[in-house]
């Protein structure tokens, strides 16, 4: 059992310079209240790991706008011209990772694997500097685990153990990131008593969640 904390308190748990996984896909399933609190506290030098950088004024885009981000490890920045501008101006580093590879690298970190072999990226710039390993006559890239200091998640329901459920397409990277960070902060839409979520419907167990953010007022 743990007490839920405010988004502001959650934001103080994210040190400047930290690597931070943020759930969401085009800001759907992102922890919006903690993102706002991070902007309000003026976080600096973050490395953000997520699917994309949202749009200006939306989701991770707010952190980009506010200059909180030194580096983004994402699959897509096409919807955020600010990210592109800052990248070209050298104000921000952007590492582009194929979306499925990003998912597997985060999962590998959470699952204690040293890496996975994927056909994705063979014959492209993604393969540069990576080991190519042949299995059964087919070439694969060795992709290594991706871990973070902090994971910021959106959840649909939580209980006070920190058990989480996710909702429809707001699920995306959230359950993967819950496994791959030292500090795991979940921002649920609703908090219910322990025992209310059936065991088969829990998607992330409370033992992985270090902090629970209070429900929206």
């Amino acid at each position: 059992m743990r007490k839920a904390i405010s988004p502001e308190d959650a934001a103080t748990l994210v040190p400047d310079g930290a690597s931070v996984m943020i759930g969401g896909f085009m800001a759907v399933g992102s922890p919006h209240r903690v993102i706002d609190a991070l902007v309000a506290r003026g976080a600096k030098g973050l490395t953000i790991i997520g699917n994309d950088t949202g749009k200006p004024g939306l989701g991770i885009g707010k952190l980009i706008d506010a200059g909180c981000v030194a580096r983004a490890i994402v699959s897509h920045i096409g919807t955020n011209p600010v990210t592109q501008k800052k990248m070209i101006a050298g104000e921000m580093q952007v590492d582009l990772v194929p979306q499925g590879t990003l998912a597997e690298r985060i999962r590998a970190a959470g699952a204690g694997l040293g890496g996975v072999l994927t056909p994705t990226g063979i014959g492209t710039s993604v393969a540069e500097g990576k080991q190519v390993i042949a299995v059964d006559g087919r070439d694969y890239l060795l992709e290594t685990p991706l871990r973070a200091d902090v994971a910021l998640l959106h959840a649909y329901e939580a209980d006070y153990y920190g058990n989480l459920t996710f909702r429809l397409t707001a699920t995306n990277f959230n359950p993967l990131m819950a496994m791959a960070a030292g500090i795991v902060i979940a921002e649920p839409d609703e908090i219910v008593p322990v025992g209310v979520i059936p065991p088969d419907h829990v998607r992330t167990p409370g033992i992985l969640v270090t902090h629970l953010v209070e429900r929206p007022r």
Binding site: F25, M26, A27, V28, G29, N51, D52, V74, S75, H76, I77, G78, T79, Q84, M87, V94, L96, P98, Q99, G100, T101, L102, A103, E104, R107, T118, P119, T120, G121, I122, G123, T124, S125, V126, Y156, F166, R167, L168, T169, A170, T171, N172, F173, N174, P175, L176, R203
Partner: protein, 216 residues
């Protein structure tokens, strides 16, 4: 019928009953409008759902239910939602029967470029590299040329999306199939002649005896 509709209708002709199909953002999305009557096709959105439907009426949207572009969608009976690891396990694992993607260039060997223009535009590959590496069939839906420049070229000048050649290229002018021998011109858009296609294409095209018009 404009170019986009021609492309979307012709790509829809590649759909088969009970296929699992991923449609890229933009032009490829239009394909879902032209599923043949009586055919059941499961559409996957890589952000995490199979079996989605049209945008709900105003005020009935769910902020937790969107397509890969962030637009509101609905869920059809029998829908399935999942996380990003499962989404790409389906894509990479050969469970996806077909993906329809936009393209910036396709070259004579059938390779696709669709994620960046050095010095001008960096969108990022999103799921495209996984889709081209993993889907059973990769169909490219794109304008034949852009701003007067050929997009079907001898050799990619843009960074490739994958080493693997695509299965089929459908444009507003033609249907072209990459083969080990080269690009084969399979069909013409209604009213479009072979000469017009050749003029808009810098890659060499193999011309079979019969090059019928598309059936739309």
């Amino acid at each position: 019928m404009d170019g986009k509709e021609i492309i979307a209708r012709r790509v829809a002709g590649e759909l088969r009953h009970r296929m699992l199909v991923n449609l890229g953002i933009g032009l490829p999305t239009l394909v879902s409008r032209y599923v043949p009557e009586g055919m059941v096709v499961a559409f996957q959105s890589e952000n995490g759902i199979i079996g989605f439907g049209a945008q709900p009426p105003d005020g009935m949207e769910d902020p937790n239910l969107t397509d890969a572009g962030g637009g509101y969608i609905s869920a059809l009976p029998g829908a399935y939602s999942f996380d990003s690891a499962m989404s790409f396990a389906l894509i990479r694992g050969g469970h996806l029967d077909m993906t329809v993607l936009g393209g910036l260039q396709v070259d004579a060997s059938g390779r696709l470029a669709n994620w960046m223009v050095p010095g001008r535009m960096v969108a990022g590959m999103g799921g495209a590299m996984d889709l081209v590496a993993g889907a059973k069939r990769v169909v490219i839906a794109m304008q034949h040329a852009a701003r007067g420049e050929a997009k079907i070229v001898p050799l990619l000048t843009l960074p490739p999306t994958a080493a693997r050649p695509v299965s089929l290229v459908v444009t507003d002018l033609a249907v072209i199939e990459p083969t080990p021998e080269g690009l084969v011109l399979r069909e013409r858009a209604p009213g479009v002649g072979v000469d017009e296609i050749l003029a808009a294409t810098t890659a060499p095209l193999i011309l079979p005896d019969a090059i019928p018009e598309m059936r739309l």
